[in-house]
Amino acid sequence: MPCIVALIVFGIMGIFSASQRALAKEAFDCVFRRVTFRPCNTGFQEKVKGKLLAKVLKHSSFLAKVLNKYYEVFSWIFFILMVGSTIWVFRGVYNFYVFGSCNGLNSSSFCAFDPSGANNKITAIGGNTSTCGITQKSEKTVTLKDVDLSSFPTKNIGSKDTVVFIGCYACDYSRKAYPDIQKLIQKKNANFIFAHFPVKGNITDTLADAGYCVYKDYPDKYWDFNSYLFSADKDYVLNKANLNKILGKFNFDLKKINDCVNNHETKTAVENQVKELNKTNIYGTPTIFINNKAFVGPKPYRVYRSAINKFIFF
C-alpha cells in the first residue's frame, strides 16, 4: 500500500521535480512487481519508511514508535484520504466548468434583495453577502413551481428550451449576465421570458412600469428597448429625467406611455408581477432559470451553455 501512495504522490510531484520523478519511477517499479505477484525487492518501501521515521523521530520518539507500529494502517488512511481529496479536486474542477465556481452554485456575487423592500442593497464584489446584512440562501430553494409567468414579456414561444431572466436594470450583475443570456437565446432560439425585478426602488420601479407599458403597447419594439436599458450607460438610464428621451429614441408615443405608467392599473399589475416573482423564493438578481434550473448571480457563458445542453449531472 505505501508503494501505491508513494507512486501517486511522487507521480504528481514528479511533474515539477526531476528528483521526485526518480522516486516515482522506483515506486512504479515496486507497484509493478507487486501486481505481477513478485516481491518488491527495490528497497523502496524501506527507504520511504526510514526517511519518514527519521523525520518524526527527530521530534518525538513516541510518535515515531506509533508510526512504525501502525505504518500500514496510516498508509491506508492516507490512501483513502488521497482518493477522497482527488475526487474532491475533480468535483471542484467540474463545478468550476459548469457553475463557474469550484464550490458549485451559490457562491458568486449577486444583487441581494430583501423581500420586505426595506433593506435592498447590492453585495460586495466577491460575493461577501455578510456586508449587506442578508444571509445568502440556497439556489435549491429558488423555483418556478406554481409561479405564473404569463404576464411577463415572452419571445420564441414553442421552443423546447425555456430561459427565464429575472433581473434589474440597476443591478450590475444583471447587466453583466444579460448579454450572455441574449447570446444563448439567439444561438438556441430558446423561449425567453424576461421579468424586471426592481431591487433599488425609485427609478427602478418607474422603469418596471415603463417596461410593462412598452410591452403592452409596442410588443415588437420591446426587446430592443429592454436591451438598451441593460446596455446603455447606467447613470443615464437610471436618471428619471432621461426616461422620456429614451422613450423618444424608440419613437414611442410619450403621452400614451406616460399615461400608462401613471395609471393605477399599471402599478397594480406590476406589483402583482413582483408578488408572483417572490413566489420563486428569489433572494438576488439576476436569477436565471434555464429549463427550470436556477442560477443566482452572473455565471460564465459556458455555465449557461452547459445547462441548456443538459451537461449538468448533479
Binding site: K47, K49, G50, K51, A54, K58, S61, K65, N68
Partner: protein
C-alpha cells in the same frame, strides 16, 4: 598514537557540515575518503601537464610519464614488490582478478579454490571460467565464527591448481592467514592469488614476505581516486601470462601480418590509462606511507571495541563474524533477524548524517547460504573518532527503541 585532529584537517569533507551537522563517515570499507593532497595531485595533472605518457616527446608528456612512473615506483615500494615492473595499473581490484582469470592458462578440470565469503569480484570470474572452460570450483567452508579453517583448506588444496582468496573480508573484517595459506598451497604446487582490496589500507602488505604469486587491490579503498587499482604478480609469472586485452600501448610494433608485445607491465595496460587517477593513487600511497599501520590498527580497534561492546547490549543485534573486535579489523557488520536493515542506514543518515552501508555488501552468496536478508556495516578508518562512534550508538539506540 595517530593524531585524528591533524588527519581530519586533511579531508575537506570532514570539515563540511550538512544540515547543520558534520558528516560522520563509516563506509570506508566501500570507499575511503580522499585527502586534499590526492585531489590536488590529480588537479595538478589536469592543470599543468594533461598529456599522454611514454609516446609524447614534449615536456608535458615527459612530465606526465615521470609522475606516472613515480607512482608505480611508490606503489612497488609500498607493497615491497621486487620490481616496479610487477605493478600493473587497472581500474580496480575486480579488473585485476578478471585479468588473471582470463590471462592464466586454465584448462578443463583444473581445480580452483575460493572461500565461502568471497566478494562477487572473486566469485563471478571463476563461475564464468567454470562455465566456459570447465574448471572445478571448490568452496572452502569457514568455521562457525566465519574464520578461515586451515585444516579444511590443507585437505582441499591437494590437487588444486589455483587458490584465490580474500585477504581481509569486506563482510566481517576477518583477515585470513595469508602466510599460512600461501605456504600450504605452494607445498601442494598451487599458485595463490590474494584479494587485498580490503586489507591494503589497514595493514602492511609485504608481497615478498608473503611470497604471494598474484595480488590485486583498488585505489578507492586506500584514500586513492575511483577507477584506479593495481594487479601485482611475480615477474616470472606475469611474463608467462597472455594478456586478454591488447591494443595501443601494449605492442612494440605491428605489421599487417604480425605484432610484437611489449614487456611487462606495458603489455597488460592496453589503451590510454587513467593518468590523473594513477598520479592520485601514487599520492595516496605517499600519504599512507606517513603512518605506521600498527597505529592505524590500534586506532580502529579502539573504536571497534567500543562499538562492539555497545552493540552487544542489544539482544536483537547479531554481529557477523567473531565477536572479538581484534579479529574484525575496522568492520562491524550486524543484522536483526527477519528485518530489512536498509531503513536503519537511511534513518541514521537522515538523523545524524551518518553514512553506513546496508545490503549484502557484494557477498550475496554468503547471505543466501545463511538465509540472512541483509545487514548494516560500520567500517572505521584512520579519520574516524570515538565521538563519532558515540553519536552513532546514541542515534542507533534511539532508533532501536521504536522497533
Amino acid at each position: 598514537m595517530i593524531d585524528t585532529d591533524k588527519i581530519r584537517a586533511d579531508f575537506k569533507i570532514l570539515n563540511i557540515q550538512e544540515s547543520g551537522m558534520p558528516n560522520i563517515y563509516f563506509d570506508s570499507a566501500c570507499m575511503s575518503l580522499k585527502p586534499n593532497s590526492v585531489v590536488e595531485a590529480m588537479n595538478e595533472y589536469y592543470y599543468r601537464f594533461p598529456a599522454c605518457t611514454n609516446r609524447s616527446p614534449h615536456k608535458l608528456g615527459q612530465k606526465a610519464t615521470k609522475k606516472v612512473e613515480e607512482a608505480r615506483k611508490n606503489i612497488a615500494k609500498f607493497i615491497n614488490a621486487n620490481s616496479e615492473k610487477e605493478i600493473i595499473f587497472t581500474r580496480n581490484a575486480t579488473e585485476g582478478i578478471n585479468l588473471l582469470a582470463n590471462s592464466f592458462s586454465f584448462k578443463k578440470n583444473d581445480v580452483v579454490l575460493i572461500t565461502d565469503k568471497e566478494h562477487n569480484s572473486n566469485l563471478v570470474p571463476w563461475l564464468r571460467l567454470k562455465e566456459k572452460v570447465g574448471i572445478i570450483l571448490k568452496i572452502i567452508p569457514g568455521r562457525e565464527d566465519n574464520t578461515f579453517d586451515l585444516e579444511k583448506f590443507s585437505e582441499m588444496v591437494k590437487g588444486a591448481k589455483f587458490v584465490s582468496v580474500v585477504h581481509t573480508s569486506n563482510l566481517d573484517g576477518v583477515t585470513n592467514p595469508a602466510k599460512e595459506i600461501i605456504e600450504i598451497a605452494h607445498k601442494n604446487n598451487a599458485l595463490v592469488f590474494l584479494d587485498c582490496a580490503q586489507s591494503i589500507a589497514h595493514q602492511k602488505i609485504d608481497v615478498q614476505k608473503l611470497d604471494v604469486d598474484f595480488m590485486a587491490f583498488s585505489g578507492h579503498k586506500m584514500l586513492g581516486p575511483t577507477g584506479t587499482g593495481v594487479f601485482y604478480g611475480k615477474k616470472k609469472l606475469l611474463e608467462e601470462l597472455a594478456p586478454f586485452m591488447v591494443g595501443g600501448d601494449t605492442v612494440e610494433y605491428t605489421t599487417y601480418e604480425e605484432y610484437k608485445m611489449l614487456e611487462i607491465p606495458e603489455k597488460f595496460e592496453a589503451g590510454l590509462q587513467n593518468y590523473a587517477g594513477i598520479i592520485g593513487l601514487g599520492e595516496a600511497v605517499k600519504y599512507l606511507s606517513n603512518f605506521d599501520f600498527k597505529e592505524i590498527a590500534e586506532h580502529e580497534l579502539k573504536i571497534n571495541k567500543y562499538l562492539t561492546e555497545e552493540l552487544s547490549k542489544f539482544p536483537q543485534i547479531n554481529i557477523i563474524g567473531p565477536l572479538d573486535p581484534k579479529l574484525r579489523s575496522g568492520i562491524i557488520n550486524f543484522y536483526i533477524e527477519n528485518t530489512d536493515m536498509h531503513k536503519f542506514a537511511i534513518m541514521l543518515d537522515e538523523m545524524a548524517n551518518i553514512s553506513i552501508r546496508s545490503g549484502q555488501h557484494c557477498v550475496h552468496s554468503w547471505f543466501h547460504s545463511k538465509k540472512i536478508y541483509n545487514s548494516t556495516r560500520v567500517s572505521i578508518y584512520l579519520y574516524n573518532t570515538m565521538e563519532e562512534a558515540e553519536v552513532f550508538i546514541n542515534s542507533l539506540t534511539k532508533i532501536l527503541k521504536i522497533f
